[in-house]
């Protein structure tokens, strides 16, 4: 598998998103490189989720260019877009599991949609190992989403996102609403899956621990665009007020210390 680390998986150029009279993004540029975990941070209402929705095609931007895997995404017809969609997986904030299907059936939905010829036995086996890979206990397979806890729902969501062996994974606040132990385990899971499957991860988060623990680079959304992108030390060297407050605030410092102590131990 030829992996060139400089290749951009996602390219966003001069993106503009407008809701009514409110401009959410203007002149926004962003590159996501192959096999990296990119964290996207920003205050509430800076349009992190809108950016993700624009990239995956759920929101038509007012202006701008978006390409994923080198394919332009705006104005594509449904069939062409399908080929690109097959290559990514998405975990929505509330996991967005289909409530009338069991966890295992949820995982099988994308496979059934794109590869209806795969026989049921193999399909069950695929669902089975995806579920275990996502860190769910084996009993979770036949359960319905309403019977799962928040953390298990997110894991089931990951299992579904991984169903088609995607190259690119979008995660919208994966650790929000999880307890610290669950959140740390989830970070670890993402990191492991990324390493094992060579995934590129686009990760929206508010969780400073997640940023320090697993992100290769961090993009900061403020003033309607990406004001800075880089590793955390690179960002700390900038004197943008929001970035300084974000990383230098009490919570930011605590997360940083925790990482240092872990590194020393």
């Amino acid at each position: 598998m030829a992996v060139s680390t400089d290749e951009n998986i996602i390219e966003v150029r001069s993106l503009k998103n407008v809701f009514g009279t409110q401009t959410v993004h203007e002149n926004l540029d962003l590159d996501v490189r192959r096999s990296e975990i990119l964290g996207v941070v920003g205050g509430s209402g800076t349009g992190k989720s809108v950016l993700m929705r624009s990239i995956i095609g759920l929101q038509s931007p007012a202006e701008g260019e978006i390409s994923v895997f080198g394919e332009p995404m705006i104005g594509r017809d449904e069939n062409e877009a399908k080929d690109v969609r097959r290559r990514w997986g998405i975990l929505f904030q509330g996991a967005a599991l289909f409530s009338t299907l069991t966890v295992a059936e949820n995982v099988q939905v994308p496979i059934r949609e794109y590869f209806p010829k795969v026989d049921q036995k193999l399909m069950d086996e695929i669902a089975s190992y995806k579920i275990v890979m996502s860190g769910l206990p084996a009993e979770a397979g036949p359960k319905f989403p309403s019977e799962l806890s928040g953390g298990m729902k997110k894991r089931a969501g990951i299992a579904r996102a991984l169903a088609l062996d995607p190259e690119l994974l979008f995660l919208d606040e994966p650790t929000a609403g999880l307890d610290p132990i669950g959140a740390a385990a989830f970070d670890q899971l993402i990191k492991e899956l990324q390493a094992a499957l060579g995934l590129t991860v686009f990760l929206i988060t508010h969780d400073l621990d997640t940023l320090y623990a697993i992100c290769d680079r961090v993009a900061v959304l403020a003033d309607r665009k990406v004001v800075a992108i880089g590793t955390i030390p690179e960002l700390l060297a900038l004197d943008h007020p929001w970035i300084q407050e974000y990383f230098r605030g009490p919570r930011g410092r605590a997360a940083e210390t925790a990482v240092r102590e872990n590194a020393e131990a």
Partner: protein, 370 residues
């Protein structure tokens, strides 16, 4: 990178060697799984992956599964494939995909028992709900300051005023249909004149109100169930309770009260429009002038018909609103429950209204209100 996954078999020394070629990914897997199931299994096997272009977890799973079954040796895997094979090997715990199925006979038995239990529990629940409603109404009578006038008037608008158009149109058309059908049948006896009796009495006594009740159950009963149900899902009802606001007082009472008060008005209005519809038909088709029609209506429709309607209407309103609110309060779990409960609210509301209407008919006849 085109073509599908493939393999060739050969015998080298004492080993049976399977050489895999092409992309071993979900999209390109083709018939590989079936063919692998049929591979002869006698000698010791070697699985050679050096010819594989790409591999994803599905390809790795197939190789792992075969290796596990035949205790084969895997060679020629590059580091990426090694990681994938490791990953799927670690994830190899059988997971149940579907809940256990019970045999059909037991399932049918279970369903009959289940729905009987549900029916009995629902009836009990409705009675309990009625009790809770009375208690909170009594609380309101003792503390009239807590009465939510705004909520009630808003429901007046939604239940009453917004449905004037549809209820009116429907009744008008029903009036025409009764007149037309009645005229055709009565003409066989030369008694077209009695069409007026038919229109007047059936509209005032039964149809006006019954059609209105069905429309209100469909419009408002369902809306109550869906609104309260969504609020329960979003924990709004729990939030109310913890703040000290009684959901019964804030959500249920205004809706029930508004429906109880609106039903007689809507029923009367519906009866009136049915008579108008019938009147226009008789005028155009039977040449009975409107003045005569109105005079005949006043002669043939006794006052007791109107009383019957006005007595039944609030009871119907109570039942429809209670069924809606009760079902809404029963919502639990997921969005699907809201849909199911909304359906039940309408079905129960209409069913109970018709059952009670039959009782009322017998009762009123026996006290001499023919």
């Amino acid at each position: 990178m085109t073509g599908t996954a493939d393999f060739s078999e050969s015998v080298e020394g004492d080993r049976h060697v399977l050489r895999f070629t092409g992309p071993m990914t979900l999209a390109r897997i083709g018939t590989l799984p079936d063919r692998l199931d049929n591979v002869a299994n006698g000698r010791r096997m070697t699985l050679d992956l050096s010819g594989v272009e790409r591999m994803d977890t599905v390809g790795a799973w197939l190789v792992y599964r075969l290796a596990r079954k035949t205790e084969a040796q895997v060679t020629g895997a590059d580091p990426h494939m090694e990681t994938l094979l490791d990953q799927v090997a670690q994830a190899d715990h059988p997971v149940k995909v579907r809940p256990d199925r019970t045999p059909p006979f037991y399932r049918v038995l279970g369903q009959i028992g289940g729905s009987t239990a549900v029916a009995i529990r629902t009836l009990g629940g409705l009675v309990g709900f009625f009790g809770a409603l009375l208690i909170s109404a009594w609380g309101l009578i003792k503390h009239p300051r807590r009465f939510r006038l705004n909520a009630v008037t808003q429901q007046f608008e939604v239940i009453g005023i917004h449905s004037l158009g549809i209820v009116g149109l429907m009744s008008f058309l029903v009036g025409i249909v009764i007149a037309q059908q009645g005229a055709v049948q009565l003409a066989q006896f030369g008694a077209e004149v009695f069409t007026v009796n038919l229109i007047g009495r059936s509209a005032v006594k039964e149809l006006g109100l019954l059609m209105t009740a069905i429309m209100v159950a469909g419009r408002s009963g369902s809306a109550f169930a869906a609104q309260i149900g969504s609020m329960k899902l979003a924990e709004e009802v729990d939030a109310m309770r913890t703040i000290g606001v009684s959901p019964m007082e804030a959500l249920v009472l205004p809706r029930v009260l508004a429906t109880v008060l609106m039903m007689p008005l809507l029923g009367f209005y519906a009866a009136l429009l049915a008579i108008v519809g019938g009147g226009i038909f008789t005028w155009l088709s039977l040449d009975i002038p409107p003045v005569t029609f109105v005079q005949r209506i006043r002669e043939v429709v006794p006052m007791t018909d109107l009383w019957q309607m006005l007595i039944k209407a609030p009871v119907f309103g109570l039942i429809i609103a209670m069924a809606g609110c009760f079902q809404g309060m029963q919502v639990e779990g997921n969005a699907e429950a809201v849909g199911l409960r909304t359906t039940s609210a309408v079905v129960q509301g209409i069913f109970l209204v018709i059952v009670l209407d039959a009782f009322f008919a017998v009762f009123f006849t026996s006290i001499g209100w023919l």
